[in-house]
Each structure stands twice: as structure tokens, then as C-alpha cells.
């Protein structure tokens, strides 16, 4: 059974009048890979910094192994951080960067005496870490001569060599290109499993969060919107914000007409959701990949295709249903202007309670307008940036 390691209870944080965190309650289990996910300014980095000890919450408690650690400074916490821009020491080489934490005298918890590691022990541990992050042979290299991915791995080694109970990672892959990112995602997951360390990971990239995490915490506006496994978050979003932020979603106003029956556009659909009041107004989420395109006559709903974008594996098509535009992903091409029908299985429909996010997301009207503008024969792209248009000649 997983053991609880860190708990934030009723944590609030504000700078002057600006509320950054609003009553955060969260626990993190030992050896868990937990991701704080949200747009910039949602409070995810502040939450991480509170756990790291760089910021003290305005109110609320931070517990580590059951002990309150609000006022424990960072250098006395069993937590290490991988910083957003790595923050490697430019005056030290790779070896000395990794050895930095080991060279500092530590207080023995029992004898209360300062202990220093022997040079041989430091060497053994640094070498072990270099092997773990595939940087053997880089000991003497200057950190400024390394590529982004290599710097990243030095930063991870520098943190992990101290054998922390928890590793905090603040958007560690943000500065890497896509290919390297995918590799590092696997690498990080592998290291986390191999070393059995709790990872708390901050990112705004939902794909990254889904791919790596055991638990995802979706945040917005200083509040936790939803906590759950990646599957829960994707399949059962709690509100329109989560539905929109994680993947693509069509979010439509609807009414529950009883358990398992929801009505949108005055048509009833079978769904799996229960427990709502009869005739309760709700937000209905339909993922673009859960919609089946059928001939117009067989459709539960019928609409007009207004734009088609080829995406490789599938087409993104925008379909106008009674003035509301949906995004549908399909492998069959339906040309612009054609009339189509759609069918949605009960498990493709997810019903959410109304929240203050209702009506803000999930409509692809603006998305399709962009495409319409570009596909319009009269649209002249040079109109907007006339000044630069002669550059090539």
C-alpha cells in the first residue's frame, strides 16, 4: 500500500493583493510520479517552490512524513530540484557540478556532528550517477559546452546524487526540441522507476503529463481543478476547463432528462452518466475521435463540413451543427460543403456539472474562421505584413 509522503493542507499564497494559490489540498505518495499541470500563472510552480522550501505559504500547512516543514529552509529538506533552466554552476565542470551537494558537510541526525564524505565515496557516487544518466566520460567537460539535453541530464544527476526522497522538476523539458523531449520523457520515467524516488513534475504540456504520470493534478487560477490518473483526467474531466485543457473537446450545453439520457440540440442521446437531477442543465463533452461519420440520413445529428485539415494520421474537420461548430477527427475524407450525419456511442459522451468555466471553451467557431479566412480566394496574406513582402526579391 502506498505511503503518504507529502501533504499540503489548506495552502494559500498571495503576493500583496494577488492571490496565487487558493486553498490547495494535496497529498503525494511515496514513489509516485505526480504532475502539476496547468497554463502559465496557474500556481503550479509556486506549489513546487513551496514543497522545495523556496517559498513559505501565506497560510496552511506543508507536511513531510507527517512533520510540519513550513519553516524548514531548502538546504535542510530531503528534497532536490531540477530547475527550469537547469541552473548548472558555470564555474564548475560536470564532475564538480554533480559532486556539489556531496561536498557539503551534512549534520548526522543521530550524533549531531558534521560529517564529510571521503573523496573516494564522492567519486563512486558521481560515477554511478554519470552512468545512470549516460554521461560517462563527460567528467572534465565544462557545462557550458554541453548541449541542452546533456545539461538537462547533468542537472538530474546533480539532484539525484544526494539521494533525495523527492525530486522536484520544474518544466525540465521546456527548452528541448520535440525529439529530445520524447527521449527524455522515457529516460525520466526509467530513472524514476529504477531509483524508486517520488517525482513531482511541473509542466504545461498535457501530452507530457498524460504520458509520464501516475497522478495528474490539473490547476488553474490558483486552484486545483481535478486530481486523478491520466485516464480519469482524460475520460472523466470534472469541468469545461479540464476537458478543454486536456486534449480537444467539443463542449455543448445540454440537459439531463434522467439517468443515462442527455439532450443536446433537442435530441436525446444515450449516455453512461447518472446521478444528475432531472432536467439539470449540464456541459456535455464529446471528444473529436469519439464521433462516427455516417451518411446524412442515418445520422443522429446532421451538419455541414466547413473546413478540412490534413493531420497525417487523420483529418481534422470542422462541422457546423445548427450554428455550433464541432471538431471531428476522422480518417475518411468529407469534402468542404458536404452534408454529413454523425453517430455517438453512449461511452463517447461525458456529462459534467455546470461550472464557472461553462461556455468559455469547447466551441470551434473561431478555429474554423481562421481556416475559412485562409481558404477564401479573396484573402490576401500580404495585406497584413506589406512592409516585409518585398524581402525575397
Amino acid at each position: 500500500m502506498a505511503k503518504e509522503l507529502i501533504r499540503l493542507s489548506n495552502c494559500c499564497m498571495s503576493f500583496d493583493d494577488n492571490v496565487v494559490l487558493d486553498n490547495i489540498n494535496l497529498y503525494i505518495n511515496d514513489q509516485e510520479f505526480l504532475t502539476l499541470l496547468g497554463p502559465s500563472g496557474c500556481g503550479k510552480t509556486t506549489t513546487l517552490r513551496i514543497i522545495g522550501g523556496f517559498q513559505t505559504p501565506t497560510s496552511g500547512e506543508v507536511l513531510f512524513d507527517g512533520e510540519k516543514i513550513n519553516d524548514v529552509p531548502p538546504h535542510k529538506r530531503a528534497v532536490n530540484t531540477v530547475f527550469q533552466r537547469y541552473a548548472l554552476f558555470p564555474h564548475l565542470n560536470v564532475y564538480e557540478n554533480i559532486a556539489f551537494g556531496l561536498r557539503l558537510p551534512k549534520t548526522d541526525p543521530e550524533t549531531k556532528k558534521k560529517v564529510k564524505l571521503s573523496e573516494a565515496e564522492i567519486k563512486a557516487r558521481v560515477t554511478e550517477m554519470l552512468t545512470a544518466v549516460n554521461l560517462t566520460g563527460f567528467e572534465k567537460r565544462s557545462v557550458t559546452s554541453l548541449s541542452g539535453g546533456q545539461q538537462q541530464r547533468v542537472a538530474i544527476a546533480r539532484a539525484l546524487v544526494n539521494r533525495p526522497k523527492v525530486l522536484l522538476l520544474d518544466e525540465p523539458l521546456g527548452a528541448l526540441d520535440l525529439r529530445l523531449r520524447k527521449d527524455m520523457q522515457n529516460e525520466l520515467k526509467r530513472i524514476q522507476k529504477a531509483m524508486g524516488i517520488t517525482f513531482i513534475y511541473v509542466t504545461h504540456d498535457q501530452e507530457e503529463a498524460l504520458a509520464m504520470s501516475d497522478t495528474v493534478v490539473v490547476m488553474d487560477g490558483g486552484k486545483i481543478q481535478q486530481i486523478g490518473t491520466p485516464e480519469d483526467i482524460y475520460n472523466e474531466p470534472k469541468n469545461a476547463f479540464v476537458a478543454d485543457f486536456i486534449g480537444e473537446s467539443n463542449i455543448i450545453d445540454g440537459y439531463m432528462r434522467g439517468d443515462g439520457v442527455v439532450e443536446i440540440f433537442n435530441r436525446r442521446f444515450a449516455c453512461l452518466d447518472k446521478g444528475f437531477a432531472v432536467n439539470e442543465p449540464v456541459d456535455v463533452v464529446i471528444r473529436p475521435e469519439d464521433v462516427d461519420i455516417v451518411p446524412e440520413a442515418e445520422g443522429q445529428l446532421t451538419g455541414t463540413v466547413t473546413s478540412v485539415t490534413f493531420k497525417g494520421v487523420h483529418y481534422d474537420i470542422i462541422v457546423d451543427f445548427y450554428g455550433f461548430k464541432w471538431l471531428i477527427q476522422t480518417t475518411d475524407l468529407s469534402p468542404v460543403g458536404s452534408r454529413i450525419g454523425i453517430k455517438i456511442d453512449p461511452d463517447g459522451i461525458h456529462v459534467m456539472k455546470k461550472s464557472h468555466y461553462s461556455g468559455m471553451f469547447g466551441d470551434y467557431s473561431s478555429y474554423s474562421e481562421e481556416y475559412e479566412e485562409i481558404s477564401d480566394a479573396n484573402y490576401d496574406p500580404t495585406e497584413e505584413d506589406e512592409g516585409d513582402s518585398n524581402e525575397e526579391t
Binding site: 523556496f54 541552473a87 554552476f89 564555474h91 551537494g101 557539503l104
Partner: protein, 293 residues
């Protein structure tokens, strides 16, 4: 192609200026240093000589004093300047602006005037001695030790010369250190703390090593003018603390008129200074922005 030609064109005035007023004078100093005083021209018969250098031996004490005082003044500047720069850089923006004005304020005043005012303070009838007299300090000392002290002799001591140099050149130490510390990436300090460093370790292992380039450039900017100063040593030293600058001045403008010897002294001093700077920069190698003169 166009771009490649543009830069040298812009550089012409500067390169011309440097050639005319820096390179040419240095060449002339070198020529003069090897020229016989009687012949007066290097390429005339018997014009070449090493005698100017041979004669320099008698000025060894002046060389020694110059480098000693300049080294002491530079050290004092580091010891005062570093803490000032460090705390300035960590304060708020408003404080930094104020501190900058206070540091720069004396620089707006004429150099000679600044130094003269120190004479007024340190003189035997100057501010300090008058103050000590007024509070009866001399009577007290004389009463205890049975001496006959009437004033503190401050002018004309090596200490006064060092004081004059520190006072005049301290800003050149503070500013480069300040700007390096100000630019320090704050996340490096957080990383150090995160890895278990307390504030002493953070300073010793991160802040100080990373501010070395600032110290090096401050040392250069204080040491070079200190070692060749002449006005300060004349005014504060009261004629007893002759330094290299005074010696050189004497050969060109003073009674001992001998520009050939003066050039030789200047050349040797320049070579020693360049060697000092080179050694120091090697010492600080690996740090970025190493400074050469």
C-alpha cells in the same frame, strides 16, 4: 560582401586615433628608452645604448615602494569594495540608485580638489588634529605616557598615500564587482541552497567564485593607475613618498630633465604591469570575461 566592407570603414577614425595617440607614443617611448642621452637620436652613431636601464638600479627603492603601495591600495579596495558591491547588489532598486549616486558623487569633483581636501583633513593643523586637540586627546596621551605630542603626523606617510589612492580609485573596484554580482543568475543560488548549502557555503562556493571576473577587472582598474600615480604621492606623501610616476615626471618636466631615462623607466614599469596582469588573468582563467588592461 557589402556588410564585410562596412565595418572597417566605421572603424577607421578609431583605428586612426589609436595609431596616432596610443601606438605611436608607445613606439616613441621604446625608441627613447634605447637612445643615448648625448647622441639624442637612436640611429645616429653611438645612438643605441642600454645605459638608461643600467642606471635604473639606483631607483630600485622607488620601484619597490610604488608596487608595494599600489598592491596595498588594491587589497584595501578589494576588502572595502567587495562587501559594498555585494550588499548594494542585493538591495532594492531604489537603494541601488541612491548608492550609485553616492559612490559616483566624488568623481564629479576635480581630482586635485578631492585630494587637496584630504590635506585639509590630515594636516597637522587639519580637521582631525584640531578635533583631537579640542577633545583633549593629546593632553590625555601626554599625561599618561609623559610624551610631548602636539599633533598626529599623517601627511607624508605611506598610509596617507594609500588612503589617497583608495579614496580616488575605490569606485573602479566597486562598480565591476557590483555589476557581476547583479547579473548573477538567482536560480544558481537557489540551486546551491537546494543541494544543501547554507548561506556561508552558497557565498563561498557559488557567489564568490562567480564574482571573480569582477574582482579581476576591479583589481586591474585600481592597480594600474595606482602604480603609476604621481599627483597623489606628491600631495599626500609630502615629497617623502616618491613613486614611479613622480620619478618619470621629474625626467620629463622636472629639474632632472632626461626623457631617455624617463622613457626607460616608463617602459620597465609597463612591462612589469603587463606581466602582473597576465599572471593574474591566467590565475582567473576559466572564468568568462577575463580582463586585460
Amino acid at each position: 560582401m557589402k556588410k564585410r566592407n562596412r565595418l572597417p570603414l566605421f572603424a577607421v577614425p578609431y583605428v586612426g586615433w589609436m595609431a596616432l595617440f596610443v601606438v605611436a607614443p608607445i613606439l616613441m617611448v621604446v625608441l627613447y628608452a634605447f637612445t643615448d642621452a648625448q647622441a639624442g637620436f637612436l640611429f645616429s652613431p653611438d645612438g643605441f645604448t642600454l645605459e638608461n636601464f643600467a642606471r635604473m638600479g639606483s631607483y630600485a627603492p622607488v620601484f619597490l615602494r610604488s608596487f608595494q603601495l599600489a598592491i596595498v591600495a588594491t587589497l584595501v579596495c578589494v576588502l572595502i569594495g567587495y562587501p559594498v558591491a555585494y550588499f548594494m547588489a542585493r538591495e532594492g532598486e531604489q537603494f541601488q540608485k541612491m548608492a550609485m549616486v553616492i559612490i559616483m558623487l566624488p568623481m564629479w569633483m576635480n581630482f586635485l580638489l578631492r585630494t587637496y581636501s584630504w590635506i585639509a583633513i590630515l594636516d597637522r593643523n587639519g580637521f582631525i588634529n584640531q578635533f583631537c586637540r579640542a577633545i583633549g586627546l593629546f593632553d590625555l596621551i601626554n599625561g599618561i605616557f609623559g610624551t610631548n605630542l602636539e599633533y598626529f603626523q599623517m601627511l607624508g606617510t605611506p598610509g596617507a598615500v594609500v588612503l589617497g589612492m583608495v579614496y580616488n580609485y575605490l569606485p573602479f573596484m566597486i562598480l565591476p564587482i557590483y555589476s557581476v554580482i547583479l547579473k548573477l543568475d538567482h536560480s544558481l543560488l537557489e540551486a546551491a541552497r537546494d543541494l544543501g548549502a547554507n548561506s556561508v557555503s552558497v557565498f563561498r562556493r557559488v557567489i564568490f567564485p562567480l564574482s571573480l571576473p569582477g574582482i579581476l577587472s576591479g583589481v586591474t582598474m585600481v592597480f594600474v593607475p595606482s602604480v603609476s600615480t604621481f599627483a597623489i604621492s606628491q600631495m599626500m606623501g609630502g615629497g617623502t613618498q616618491m613613486m614611479l610616476g613622480d620619478l618619470i615626471e621629474l625626467q620629463f618636466l622636472g629639474g632632472a630633465y632626461n626623457p631617455y631615462l624617463g622613457s626607460a623607466i616608463a617602459l620597465v614599469m609597463m612591462v612589469i604591469v603587463v606581466i602582473c596582469m597576465y599572471v593574474m588573468n591566467r590565475f582567473g582563467e576559466g572564468e568568462e570575461e577575463a580582463v586585460m588592461l
